[in-house]
Assembly symmetry: C2
Homo-oligomer: 470 residues x 2
């Protein structure tokens, strides 16, 4: 404290000296030098406690990755990349920002979430919002009409995210896309196959992939009597059905977006349906829907898609869901979204979706928007949203400390049962004497003694091999 | 063309219809619907050739990475990461942007090159300028006083880069830093060792690491009579000596920065010196410099550093260079910069530095600028600038096509000699008959027949094993 007081006195004196010089109208250079001395003294003094002005944090919606979190990130990426490569994709990378006009008119209502850079002279730039639009720009720029590529990088959205649920303003996307003209529905089926392979390999629990088609939605809107100009905004309303009830969505359609209650109810009859290929066949018999050219094309393509999905052995993971709409403007055909399922609370209840972890679809018009001659390159792709997956894996791997002074073994075991912790390593006096560790399976309550040197291997063997952090 | 003409006519008619409705003061909804139809027709019409408004490019100073370039990038990263890990570093990651105030006051004259984000409400943000300041912020935020970490990520500078020489506005840095209190010069020596290991492994040619110390520079400025307030700006002038002549630097010091010619010449006598540990010892005998407390500390530390560098077997790669100043404000002690050497044109000439590929130094005050109580954490680190390395590797790996209709073999071999291509694979009539390929070493002019199935292995064996792209 004495040293600080002396320094403070020096700063005061030097400050007086500078003021004195200014009153004497000393040379600018002299004053400049004395001010520099003052600033130097102030720097030595260091920031005053309680006077700290700046906030020590990362920007809202972002986070650092610690070495431990990086280990999880790398393991998850390894699983994803090896699947992308197995399916023949090459990797590319693009800049983190694009010309602002490259992103303009591609994202519909979500465009307001784009981060713009400050105009500091030169080009107007925006941070990339996804990896799909930069990919389309890349294809047009390099005149590519045929490529399978993957791209893993951060994207940016000025959203108000619930970070506890693994949503951020800066987050990774892992994208796989197929560009080129191929036989119908084969690339689309491969994208769904890749999604299922990755979600299975990651062992993050049961999942379901909802599938729909923009043409079916548009056809449905048309026969229900929605004006053309309202297709996209009604699409956004429908897209909320995974979060809110039909009543709320209907209120929005009628109250905010000006549909009549009859038109809304008509839409409601459709969008509340979901099922397998039998629902596709049922709708192909729907006298009104099957008369609409767009809807008919969509339904016939979905029927073909289900044939491939059955051949690929993943049809049981897929649900044709008429409420799936997806927010982005650029989709033109099949769309899909994978959700993790929560184990039902009561037996007999349907599993509850707890959030999207992957999504994608067909966008046949996007490359043409960049090509100087409007040449189209059909594309279909998928994006894995890994932040939520990181959260799940992180929680699963977390070792916990019980905040009790004298925790009884029985209480600890009970806590493990409640928290879903699979294995307990017990070290008591007897175990210490024998040089072993008692490993208890919480579910089966079976216990075995394991030699200390074998413990790591034994735990590895019993837990996820794909995601074990060594 | 007929189809386009019909569409154009439809667009015109629909436009008239909309104008008509507006004159009739039709309902807003009716007009909205008709406008939507008009826009849809215009979209079908597609962009008009020659009327293309937007530019199809990446932002200035940025580039995409093709799959081929990604392969080079991954191989280079592999070499770097395995060295960082071998030296015990953990990996972290931080967001691409920071609060603007986190970057303020850390970069001196270079601060004008920081990219700011547009104020769209909420926090003021800037793209990271390097990985060092985010690392210091991370240490202070997590109250870490001891860590070896590496971080590989893109940083952003609004520079006017010469992209052909591997300089960009968006570019990768590969950083390794040691935070914590250790015995003097040991972490500093390890950083230099890592730099040398990586540059040797990458096999991109001969290199030299220039070393200096901020305290020697400051002490030298003081005894030459530079006012305190001008230390940093004169430092920037000195830093240009690797690009321009001493005369030009002197002109800047006198003409722009207000030194007297005598003071400038005095500086000139010092900064034009470079050498090994003997120059350190010579300056320790310099009557004026050794009387300056800062300079003396710096010189004694450099002497100790050279002892460790000799033990590490890299002293011959290091040059004590009094002209090395480094632009950034936050360095407090040893600084260094690695340059690639061009083979001299005439025998006996000194090798010419062709550009910095790695740099770093000690910054003991930076973490304290973030800590609420000003607690200091000594740090030293290095940064590998990989973009230039990518360029060199890319050039080296490029297979070339000779633009001649009937190229004679002798001309081709001569071209290889001139261009420094190491191997030639020759397939003539005889080789085709025998099922072999003649492999010729351009330097030694030796030729051997290699079986077709062994060719890839043989080329791999003869070229860089660390960087072979399969």
């Amino acid at each position: 404290m004495a040293e600080r007081a002396t320094l403070e006195e020096l700063v005061r004196l030097q400050g007086e000296r500078v003021r004195g010089l200014k009153q004497q109208k000393a040379s600018a250079e002299q004053i400049e030098e004395e001010v520099a001395k003052l600033l130097k003294l102030k720097a030595q003094l260091g920031p005053d406690e309680g006077k700290q002005k700046f906030v020590l944090k990362t920007p809202k919606g972002t986070r650092d990755y610690s070495p431990r979190q990086m280990a999880i990130r790398e393991k998850v990426f390894d699983v994803i990349i090896s699947c992308f490569k197995r399916h023949g994709a090459e990797v590319i990378d693009t800049p983190v920002f694009e010309l602002k006009e490259t992103l303009t008119g591609k994202y519909g209502e979500d465009s307001k979430l784009i981060y713009d850079l400050k105009d500091q002279g030169g080009e107007l730039l925006s941070l990339r919002y996804d990896l799909t639009v930069p990919f389309a720009r890349y294809l047009a720029m390099n005149k590519l009409t045929n490529i399978k590529r993957y791209h893993i990088a951060k994207v940016y959205r000025r959203d108000n995210p619930a970070m506890t649920r693994g949503r951020y303003r800066e987050f990774y996307q892992c994208d796989f896309d197929i560009a080129g003209q191929f036989d119908p529905m084969i690339p689309d089926a491969e994208c769904l196959k890749i999604m299922c392979e990755i979600l299975s390999s990651l062992q993050i629990g049961d999942f379901l992939v909802k599938v729909n088609d923009r043409r079916i939605l548009d056809g449905m809107f048309a026969i229900c009597g929605v004006p053309d100009s309202k297709f996209r905004t009604i699409c956004s309303s429908v897209d909320k059905l995974d979060k809110v009830s039909w009543e709320e969505v209907k209120n929005e359609m009628v109250g905010e977006k000006g549909l009549t209650p009859e038109v809304a109810d008509h839409i409601g009859d459709y969008v509340q349906q979901h099922g397998g290929v039998s629902l596709v066949e049922q709708l192909l018999q729907d006298p009104k829907l099957s008369q609409n050219k767009q809807a008919l094309e969509g339904l016939e393509d979905l029927k073909l898609l289900f044939e491939y999905l059955t051949l690929f052995g993943i049809a049981d993971k897929i649900s044709f869901d008429l409420s799936l709409a997806r927010g982005l403007d650029y989709y033109t055909g099949v769309i899909y979204e994978a959700v993790l399922l929560q184990t039902p609370v009561r037996p007999g209840e349907e599993p509850l979706g707890v959030g999207s972890v992957a999504a994608g679809g067909r966008y046949d018009g996007l490359v043409g928007m960049f090509d100087p001659k409007g040449r189209k390159v059909p594309c279909v792709g998928l994006s894995i949203g890994v932040e939520r997956i990181f959260s799940i894996v992180e929680q699963r791997l977390e070792a916990e400390l019980l905040y009790k002074k004298n925790p009884k073994l029985l209480n600890q075991l009970q806590y493990c049962e409640e928290a879903g912790i699979p294995l307990v390593a017990i070290i008591g006096e007897q175990e210490l004497k024998d040089g072993v560790i008692k490993l208890r399976s919480v579910a089966s309550r079976e216990e075995v003694d394991v030699r200390r040197e074998d413990l790591v291997e034994e735990i590895k063997r019993r837990t996820s091999p794909a995601l074990c952090i060594c």
